[in-house]
């Protein structure tokens, strides 16, 4: 039996069903991310777990005990919000100690726990500051400490990094993961940022239109997307539209070229349209050993991104983007140059 069980969760807002038959088992100490575009229902599921929304159907249990109809204040879950939500009238120490205070802990107990939490987030020197006197990153760390102070069973993170700038986001992301691992707390993290989800999660749940499209490890989600949506949503993906020419030989016509994809066209007939999906890192400019499939085209766009140069190659009606490392010794290709791209048929995802 899993530690946190979501069974057949459903949520309707008027005639609109925003969460449809959502099932998920989360093990104790696991870090799980809900990833999806805006409006996919990820926050609604989190809010149902927290108790802010009542499910229209289904059940939620924690540690074998059903909590579906329990009030938020009785669920013993810590939550961190996108907008920090620190109490402006309280100092950092008072904010962190609030949860313990409402639970009736003694002042010595509160003080000890606050000190421990401040050490955990490395902000011991800011105990007497008010929220307005701190940066966004510091405020979010305090919000994390506040959520963890009462030792909740589950930690819920609702896009906690979205309001922060890029550098702080990366460092705080690592910090959250390190703290979560140290405390071994079961955590649900909601984000629309795939890099965030892939980098810190044990498992990722990709959501779309109120349903879990795919549940898997970050490696599985990225490398073996189960649906076209997941393939498109997670990472950058080039999609080439092609036509099966000979299913037994595995040949597909793409633009004016042809590629051989042995064993990947199961059940296809000659003339069937197929979508071939390729990650930018799976494509090379020019012939590369081990990358036997080749297509010819023309450089359509070159974007200098610092350490990486992203090149878009036009293949007739289609185009693909690929990344090459920047090398000061060799200048990037010029727009209009003839180019060949190569890739391994193994790396192609055939989306029917």
């Amino acid at each position: 039996m899993a530690f946190l069980e979501l069974k057949g969760l459903q949520k309707d807002f008027g005639p609109l069903r925003v969460v449809k038959d959502f099932n998920l088992d989360i093990e104790q100490g696991e870090f799980v991310s809900f990833l999806g575009p805006s409006g996919c229902g990820k926050t609604t599921v989190l809010r149902m777990v927290a108790g802010f929304e009542e499910p229209s159907a289904g059940s939620i249990s924690v540690g074998g005990k059903e909590v579906t109809r329990l009030k938020t204040s009785q669920r013993d879950m810590g939550m961190v919000f996108q907008a920090y939500a620190l109490f402006p009238n309280m100092t950092v120490a008072q904010n962190i100690g609030f949860g313990l205070k409402v639970r009736g802990a003694s002042s010595s107990e509160i003080s000890a726990r606050v000190t421990e939490m401040l050490k955990l987030i490395q902000l011991d020197q800011l105990a007497d500051r008010y929220p307005y006197q701190m940066s966004g990153g510091q405020q979010q760390r305090v919000a994390l400490a506040r959520a963890l102070a009462p030792q909740p069973k589950v930690l819920l993170l609702d896009e906690p990094l979205s309001a922060l700038d890029a550098k702080v986001r990366v460092s705080l992301r690592d910090e959250i993961r390190a703290i979560q691992k140290r405390l071994g707390i079961t955590t649900i993290f909601v984000t629309h940022d795939q890099e965030e989800a892939l980098s810190i999660s044990d498992r990722v749940i990709v959501m779309y239109q109120g349903k879990a499209e795919q549940v898997g490890t970050p490696f599985e989600i990225y490398n073996r997307p189960a649906t076209k949506f997941v393939a498109n949503f997670v990472g950058t993906l080039n999609t080439l539209e092609g036509t099966v020419t000979d299913p037994s030989a595995g040949t597909v016509r793409v633009g004016t070229g042809e590629v051989v994809l042995k064993g990947k066209l199961n059940g296809s007939k000659a003339g069937d349209p197929v979508s071939l999906a390729l990650r930018p890192e799976a494509i090379s400019l020019g012939r590369q050993p081990g990358r036997d499939a080749m297509l010819g085209g023309e450089i359509a766009e070159v974007s200098f991104l610092g350490s990486v140069i992203r090149v878009r190659v036009g293949l007739g009606q289609e185009s693909v983007s690929l990344d090459t490392f920047n090398s000061p010794a060799s200048p990037p290709p010029a727009v209009g140059d003839k180019a060949e791209i190569s890739f391994s048929p193994e790396d192609v995802l055939v989306l029917h």
Binding site: G78, M79, F87, N89
Partner: protein, 259 residues
């Protein structure tokens, strides 16, 4: 253009200041030989002044407490759960500005007189209760607007959810999270209420209660210099209230602006 602006400013200042200066000057002219505070001395020494002033201050404090207890939870709940009701509540709270106090008090007299089902006017305590209810109604436009504006400056929904996730109940959320964060707004409303209640004449006069408003009227009808002194004192109280609003705003640690 600049000259016109300064001219308008000067005109505005004179428009407001001259009557006040005249009033103050007259209140100090009780003796022919020069300025004196005699009028103030007479007013302050009058036991009726003290008793009516104390009565009105007590009524004002009671009004403020009742007002806070009604308005803060209402404004909070409307922001949190029923935003669609806001225009209706705003309209209701503005009614006392449209309906004269005399209409309300006559309504009270008809509804709660000694021959009615609920004869509140049969006792002094009951009549005082009616007075406080009336004052609360009069203060609604100021109190509700001040509190609602205060609520607008904080993220009521997220703060409530954060507190709930930490185990807090409604009472704790309202009185330990929401109220302290809108305290400046509540105090603004409270001081405005105080200023209005202190000088209110219609309610206590028609309910026959010994408040400061009717006392000012009696003094004004029978004496020359003392009413002017009283008016200056009343102005002083109002301005003192405004000053207190500013002071409280500045002293609130957590609302100080980042410098």
């Amino acid at each position: 253009m600049k000259v016109f602006a300064w001219g308008a400013f000067l005109f505005g200042c004179l428009f407001f200041a001259l009557p006040l200066l005249g009033l103050t000057e007259f209140s100090l002219s009780m003796r022919r030989e020069g300025y004196t505070f005699d009028a103030y001395r007479v007013v302050l020494a009058d036991p009726q002044f003290r008793s009516t002033f104390l009565y009105s201050v007590t009524a004002a404090i009671a009004t403020i407490v009742v007002g806070i207890l009604i308005v803060v939870p209402t404004a909070y709940w409307i922001r949190l759960r029923m935003p669609w009701l806001r225009p209706i509540v705003e309209f209701i709270t503005l009614m006392p500005l449209v309906i004269p106090a005399i209409v309300i008090v006559f309504g009270y007299i008809r509804l709660y007189n000694t021959s009615s089902i609920l004869p509140l006017m049969g006792t002094t305590a009951g009549t005082t209760l009616l007075l406080i209810c009336g004052f609360t109604v009069l203060s609604l436009p100021y109190m509700y607007r001040a509190v609602d504006t205060g609520m607008r400056t904080i993220d009521v929904g997220t703060l409530t959810e954060a507190a709930q996730s930490l185990g807090a109940g409604w009472f704790t959320i309202l009185f330990r999270i929401i109220l302290p964060n809108v305290l400046v707004a509540v105090l603004s409303g409270a001081f405005l209420t105080f200023a209005i209640v202190i000088g209110e004449f219609v309610f206590p006069a028609l309910l026959n209660l010994p408040a400061f408003g009717p006392y000012m009227q009696i003094v004004g009808a029978n004496k020359a210099y003392e009413p002017m002194a009283l008016a200056v004192i009343a102005f002083g109280i109002t301005w003192g209230c405004m000053g207190l609003i500013q002071l409280v705003t500045r002293l609130q640690k957590h609302t100080q602006v980042k410098r």
